[in-house]
Symmetry: C2
Subunit: 201 residues, 2 copies
């Protein structure tokens, strides 16, 4: 009867940690890394700041944990996709990232902050996730190019970056602020400009 008790406590801790990450993730999406304060995260979760620091040794570690969670989510999503053409897979994933962004669930880290960059690059869980996602997408990109579905002039890496960039595309929030379109319409528009291009066909 000792093991279950320990396990229960561990579950509670894990649950609290998840709650912290969830909150941090949301705030990162709303305000970005620099503007988000640890006080805010702790208050929003309903715990003291010092308690939060028992779980995560620094603000950057907290942000990294949020990114790891995002990567896991992406891996799960990609892993559960039904079979379809490579091009269709890419479109589906691109749409999904934009939905996350419009729902305010896409943590937005500055690509400029170097200490944060270092933390992320040093984080094995994050890098493993990133690499696996990139490999999966990369394979689809090359397959779609082989099938003549994607512009062969573009290097696969450029296509990959372009898809990743949809996750932090300011066009999404600008159009949302305009209030002229529903979320679904906005995503259709950006999907169209991304894959079909601005020039008429």
């Amino acid at each position: 009867m000792l093991q279950p008790k320990v396990s229960f406590k561990a579950q509670m801790l894990q649950a609290r940690e998840d709650a912290i990450i969830q909150t941090a993730s949301r705030l990162l999406a709303e305000k970005g890394f620099e503007a988000m304060t640890v006080d805010e995260v702790a208050a929003s979760v309903g715990i003291a700041k010092a308690s939060l620091y028992k779980h995560f040794p620094s603000k950057e570690d907290l942000a990294a944990a949020a990114m790891v969670q995002l990567m896991r989510r992406a891996q799960d999503y990609i892993g559960a996709l039904p079979a379809q053409s490579a091009m269709a897979q890419l479109r589906t994933v691109a749409r999904w990232t934009m939905e996350l962004k419009l729902k305010g669930e896409m943590p937005n880290l500055p690509s400029q902050n170097s200490t944060l960059r270092a933390k992320l690059i040093a984080d094995k869980a994050y890098m493993d996730g990133l690499i696996e996602v990139s490999d999966r997408l990369g394979a689809w990109i090359e397959a779609a190019q082989a099938q003549g579905q994607i512009n062969p002039q573009l290097p696969a890496i450029a296509v990959l970056y372009t898809l990743y960039a949809r996750a932090c595309d300011p066009v999404l929030e600008f159009l949302k602020m305009g209030g002229q379109h529903e979320d679904a319409q906005i995503i259709d528009l950006v999907m169209c400009s991304c894959f079909e291009g601005l020039a008429a066909r």
Copy 2:
């Protein structure tokens, strides 16, 4: 003989102010608004921080001044363009903004910081510039659509935002970090994906 003396002093002041804005502009491009410190700007210009505050009442006003300068630059550039088709004008301007970004001369403000937003919206010089640029581009977009050059499914405003977004496209810096391509190639790639789209034609 009094007027020239005053004018000379005013010129010196103006020159110093330009130097401050120039430096701020560069630092804004490098590190973003939050990460840039006023101490840094002052030190980089070679003046005391207090002196800088005689020119600009706050950090946000300084950033706003940098944006006003950028708008003026854009207006000048657009005004001096040779006559060509509307579509060609849009391509030229898009390419120019990306060149600025790659040269580190494109101040990058977070779209999230609300106090800065407020300052910019309240700034007549900035808003006038933004509106004029948007009007010029908007007219070209509509003309290009009327000529069947731009995808008619896309609202003009979505096209405009998509072009503006090229000025802060992370794909540019990612490709540059990769070190596999020259700046000119990078711009060609992003121009291609932007106008031609990812999908093969």
